[in-house]
Amino acid sequence: MSVMEGASVERAVSPWGLRLRRFRRHRMGMASLVILAVLVLFCLAAIPLQMTGMDPDATDLFARFDPPGPGHLLGMDEAGRDVLLRLMVGGQISLLVGLLATLIGGAVGIVIGILAGYFGGRLDTALMRFTDGMIALPLLPLLIVLGALDLTKLGFSQDFARSGAAGFWRIVVIISIVDWTSIARLVRAATLQIRERDYVRAARAAGAGAAYVMGAHILPNIATPIIVAFTLTVGRVILFESVLSFLGFGIVPPTPSWGNMLNNAQELVTTAPLLAVYPGLLIFVTVIAVNFLGDGLQAAFDPRSEK
């Protein structure tokens, strides 16, 4: 097992310690973690650059489609804006939207699914009919309504409603609202299987309450499908954000995101293909890295992976 074996008597390690140990042994997972960290640092590097006076939205029409040069390492886009800087700033938004929307929507889905599955009965019926209702809502009209919602009427200040932050949160909330349903169904089905196991009975016989059973037994045992669903969602959300921007809500140009940069570049793909390649490549790398990170997490939660 461990390198220490034989040197000293085996001591009990906590479940989280063992999970960390297994994750660290998963090479692709660790590599993905490094890649994602590099991507985050790359995006955050925009902050010091902006402080030196560089502006991702500043246009220079004489410099349209300039090739890469010393001042602008990846050249200029169709409006004469620095591509590299826009990728950095857009990455902050895309990564944050992808992460937050997945986590918030996923958390809602997990809570609803596990409550419905564990308690069953009327609560289950009520929650699942609600979920079915959400699934049945037509997506586009819903998005348009949510996108057009006047935030000042909801009690937010004028300043906030006009700021870029409002657009950002709006898109996170929109995606979370439409994206939790599949996870809720998945979690409910998996919970139904686990709650009848004898180890759950043993815990209850020892005096465990619902919260303990869910945290200690149900969540770890349904972690695998949840992680798979999460990793697939991150990539989808990043692209979904670009669809929403295209429709005019959320992250509205000129504020860049990888999604809307990719979208804009589509029209120019014959004249300036690289403008599509850069954001596309970054989205691709992110999605792949998140998927392998998910593999690593699965391995961490699954004791059978130790071989």
Binding site: M1, E5, V9, E10, R11, A12, V13, S14, P15, L18, R197, D198, Y199, R201, A202, A203, R204, A205, A206, G207, A208, Y212, A216, H217, P220, N221, A223, F301, D302, P303, R304, E306
Partner: protein, 314 residues
Amino acid sequence: MSELLGLDDVSVHFAVRGQTVRAVQHVSLAIAEGETLALVGESGSGKSTLGYTVAGLQAPTEGALRFEGAVLTKATWKQARAKIQIVFQDPFGALDPRMPVSAIIAEPLRIQRIGTDATRRARAAELVERVGLPRDALNRYPHEFSGGQRQRIAIARALSPQPRLIVADEPLSALDVSIQSQILNLMKEVQEQERLSYLFISHDLAVVNHLVDRVAVLYLGRLVEIGPREALFARPSHPYTQALLDAVPRIGRHRARHARIIKGEMPSPLNPPSGCVFHTRCPKAQDVCMQVVPQLEPAGAVGHSAACHFKEGT
């Protein structure tokens, strides 16, 4: 010996699609300190349900449970949970596959908030050796162990909060015969060391004969006979018990010509027969059996009683 656990006229009913399943009906019995009581009966007799009720997994519909002299209420329930543990039949489903063995064994302590993380781990390490597993089992997972080893882990888990009573729900029937005796010996050993009581649920009378002090026979949710093992095995009083004992195969002996065989299926607990629940299959049944529910009455030896209008040995 003083009473550890008492059941007072306990009934357990389930509602299934608008109908009532009477899984356990009016059962009263007691388990003394350090005693092993076997609960035997065929499947559907309600023995597992009764075991779950004792283990706190199923609330009785009627009646009360006494533990250490006090009636169990909602307030005392949680404390009693540490002192009544359970071991299940299937050693593969009984252990969380995602928990290391040390966490599994220490789980009742964690749930009861007994000790710290460190003391709980120390207790797990102590118990792992106590039940005859290698110490390096602590950081391993259930899938790395055989059925017998898993049952040892389940026993270690049950022992961790220093219980007074362990409900063992057919703990041997999923194991190979060669492993059964090892687990049986382990259970005997820890019983002597800890002065434990067992409620041993089984349908295997040969196993029962090796371990238990007293036997309770359940049929269709009713206690039909209870008594000391020797007396009950030597002179079964209830016709159902007699048939049950005659059905045990013995090597080198043909089935006796007079063997009492019961025919047919157990009636549905949705709609149990009137009077004596056994009258539909009983060779001795008379009119009175269809009308009057027989009460448990002394039958011969001290502490031996049976619920039958025509019991033997009075």
